[in-house]
């Protein structure tokens, strides 16, 4: 299929269906182009390590390329990609934790914030974000870095929209408290 013929009218779900049935690399390329930056951004914030985020992002797309049939066409592709990435990142954490126990001398500094931010305010916000619990950090990033709707986040977290709103509200409150403490 010529990518020129499948521009905007096809949404991600339709593109995935097309790729599942045809295995076309061109269709896959479109899926990649449309989604990789959002995914890379999400994992970078989550892990604080752009190299690791790069690897995880590429691995997620490799999985999609190999097993597109696992995609549920009734769900959002972005939500599916984010879920795979989150699982991969958790596996990395488990692996690094194991290594940390076995090689106590080796610090796990690569997963700390590695990129110095450009000014104090950004640094302050990023540090405060890293002090939040995983659930709170995740929901803030999904909403404000990735612009997911409350409904999409609820789908991703597999909980009610009310729970998402409550969590997001509390996360913003905690973020404010953390920043107040730091400054």
């Amino acid at each position: 299929m010529n990518p020129d013929h499948i521009q905007m009218p096809l949404d991600d779900q339709r593109l995935m269906q097309e790729f599942t049935s045809s295995g076309s690399r061109e269709v896959f390329s479109l899926i990649y182009q449309r989604n990789h930056q959002d995914l890379f951004r999400f994992v970078t914030w989550l892990s604080g390590d752009s190299e690791l985020a790069r690897d995880i992002t590429q691995n997620v797309f490799l999985k999609v390329f190999r097993k597109p049939q696992l995609f549920d066409p009734n769900k959002s592709l972005k939500v599916w990609l984010f879920s795979i990435a989150k699982n991969q990142w958790k596996n990395e954490i488990r692996y690094h934790s194991l290594r940390q126990v076995e090689q106590s001398a080796e610090s796990w500094s690569t997963l700390e914030v590695e990129e110095p931010l450009f000014n104090a305010k950004k640094n302050l916000v990023q540090k405060a974000l890293n002090r939040l619990s995983f659930d709170h950090k995740e929901v803030v990033l999904l909403k404000y870095s990735n612009n997911l709707t409350i409904a999409e986040i609820s789908d991703y977290l597999e909980c009610s929209e009310g729970t998402v709103k409550s969590r997001l509200f509390y996360a913003l409150k905690k973020l404010r408290e953390e920043i107040a403490q730091q400054s």
């Binding site: 990649y32 930056q37 890379f40 590429q58 692996y95 990033l141 409550s166």
Partner: protein
Amino acid sequence: MKNENIPSELFDLIADKSFEELTSKERPMVEEWLTAEEYSDYRSFVTTIRQTDSERDYQLSERSWTQQSALNLNRLANRPIPAYQVAALVLLVFGLSFLLPTSSSPEKKEPVLVENTEGTPISQDSYPEDLVFNP
């Protein structure tokens, strides 16, 4: 009031509008949940997150997927194997060597002498003429 009942719109407004920009309809809804100061602080966090995103480069080149597979294999090969896993593997192999039957070893049986081995007598019954080819 439960946080679960917050209108979703509130979270979008935080990202989209400053407190001063809120309309006369939006402001009372916001004030039901947040003070003006809280709203402005939250908006400031969101703006900072988005500003950071805009300054970072999230563009990745599209790797060849065969190349990515090779990278994964290399990564896997370079991972150090924890000592407990090696020990478990050795124990497993050692244990299996006792449990599994040693089918590959030759069976030790005494040779049996076969007696009374008679050949097939040459007769019309055993070798009918029609079936014997004589050049």
